[in-house]
Symmetry: C2
């Protein structure tokens, strides 16, 4: 039987265990455009805000590209377009690095790759990408969750050796439903109650109910680490660990809020069979190593 470092689901309550993986895997000096202090901040808090990864021109092109994708959403792979829970407004478009040359280039940006490869100390690949568009006035919330909990249970990610990069494509203020993070929560794995339903992703992308920690767990971690919600102008980038607790509230302001997310997984951390025993989610949510994961199998 396969050993499971992070058992979750099929339990009555949230339970805790300490993280069993490093956060920053490399011990070498970081690339020149980030400081050792910034890497230490990421190691300690699980989240780091950077404003020097992209040029203004790159961001302008990405913003225009998002508008183009939304206007032509009927030409995209249908399952990659997720609507709001209470309306037909677009909430997310997945797999943008495979459906858009502009977003493919962002995902290959040399600074991004150098930074992520430094943290994970391995070659990386894009396991998931998406744009999130939180409409003005009634953009719905995302519940508290650790991405790793879902990726481990439903996609078979074995270790905590992946990071997400969120890049603002509009102003993210403290009022328009920004992502809230619990700093330092990445050091604790919160196993979640409940059993994964079949094809859970078909509803969980609109409103997540399984893979949500109990309120006591969130309270305890937030009492220790506090809460932060990075804000900033378009182009601001937030790098966060795969196991960091986060959520975002609804957007009631008259201004939509949009971000593009790239999830980078270490090639050596290739997805296996899902740890919840279910069937794997589709590739648009959890891409395997391109070329069949030879590197993982050889390791």
């Amino acid at each position: 039987m396969r050993h499971d470092l992070y058992p979750t689901r099929r339990r009555a309550n949230s339970t805790y265990q300490a993280r069993r993986d490093p956060v920053v895997w490399s011990t070498a000096a970081p690339p020149g455009f980030v400081s050792s202090e910034e890497i230490e901040t990421f190691d300690r808090d699980g989240v780091l805000v950077l404003d020097n990864l992209f040029t203004d021109q790159e961001i302008e092109r990405a913003v225009a590209e998002l508008d183009r994708l939304r206007d032509q959403a009927d030409r995209l792979e249908p399952e990659t377009v997720v609507r709001e829970p209470h309306s037909d407004a677009i909430r997310s478009i997945f797999r943008v690095h495979r459906q858009s040359r502009i977003f493919a280039e962002m995902a290959r940006n040399p600074r991004v790759r150098q930074l992520v490869e430094h943290i994970l100390d391995d070659e990386v690949y894009v396991m998931q990408s998406r744009v999130n568009v939180k409409p003005a006035f009634d953009g719905a919330c995302f519940d508290w969750h650790s991405d790793f909990e879902t990726w481990h249970a439903e996609d078979g990610m074995p270790r905590m050796r992946a990071v997400s990069l969120s890049v603002f494509l509009s102003e993210n203020s403290y009022l328009n439903g920004p992502t809230m993070f619990v700093p330092r929560s990445h050091r604790t794995f919160v196993a979640c109650p409940g059993e994964t339903p079949d094809d859970n992703y078909k509803t969980s992308l609109r409103r997540q109910e399984i893979g949500v920690p109990g309120n006591e767990a969130i309270s305890e971690l937030a009492e220790k680490g506090g809460l932060i919600a990075p804000s900033g102008r378009p182009g601001t980038a937030v790098l966060f660990d795969c196991n960091l607790l986060h959520a975002s509230a609804m957007n009631m302001t008259p201004w939509p809020r949009s971000n593009v997310f790239f999830v980078f997984n270490a090639v050596c951390n290739e997805l296996e069979r899902p740890f919840d025993g279910g069937k794997p989610r589709p590739e648009f949510l959890a891409e395997r190593v391109p070329g069949g994961g030879r590197r993982y199998k050889a390791a």
Copy 2:
């Protein structure tokens, strides 16, 4: 037929008109504990944050009193206790100045009375009081609205000559669903679409649907005035004009958010018959001048 300065309801869309009343009615010097600049800010923006109205001891007593009222909610007048839309958690308790000696004293606080009487240039009385408790994790939002629109249509308030004072009874941060205001929106009256249903208040206190301006109106006013969400420690007080657009988002944080509100109306602005033609709302929502409004009738 009675002349209506601010017609609203029974229309297909939001329409605008300029305010026909002053904001600051007195032209005399303000009381010593507020500056002329602060009064000018209130006149211009419709909202003013003050942190010197109450002593720490007064606030500690009010916080303890809120806990007591919640614990003994079954002893309160039943219709004054409003629950969350999706749970039995207490969302608001109305008429606290008539059900609690501590809150009655807060409403009579000499600084508060001097300030409000200066702005309205008249004797004032408490037309409505309430505590709002936004529970942790799933405290629901309050939709965009101007209080005056409702008070005019449903309670018969003839003129814009009333102000609200919100006093924080817990930390209000930018993340736990603080009240958001559109500065300068008090200068415009936005007439709202729809017809008032019978006993509208029985549902509108949980989730408001009538008396909500159209999104275009909110966008236009917010483009001009921006958005602010005052934050601060317990005891921070926010004075805002009766016609200022405001809303508050849900609270997803692990920390509840509570405030006490007092609405002060000028005695000369005594409530009349509701302007929407319906029957008046109960006294716990819209109290008439104590003693029968003799001053109004004599004016």
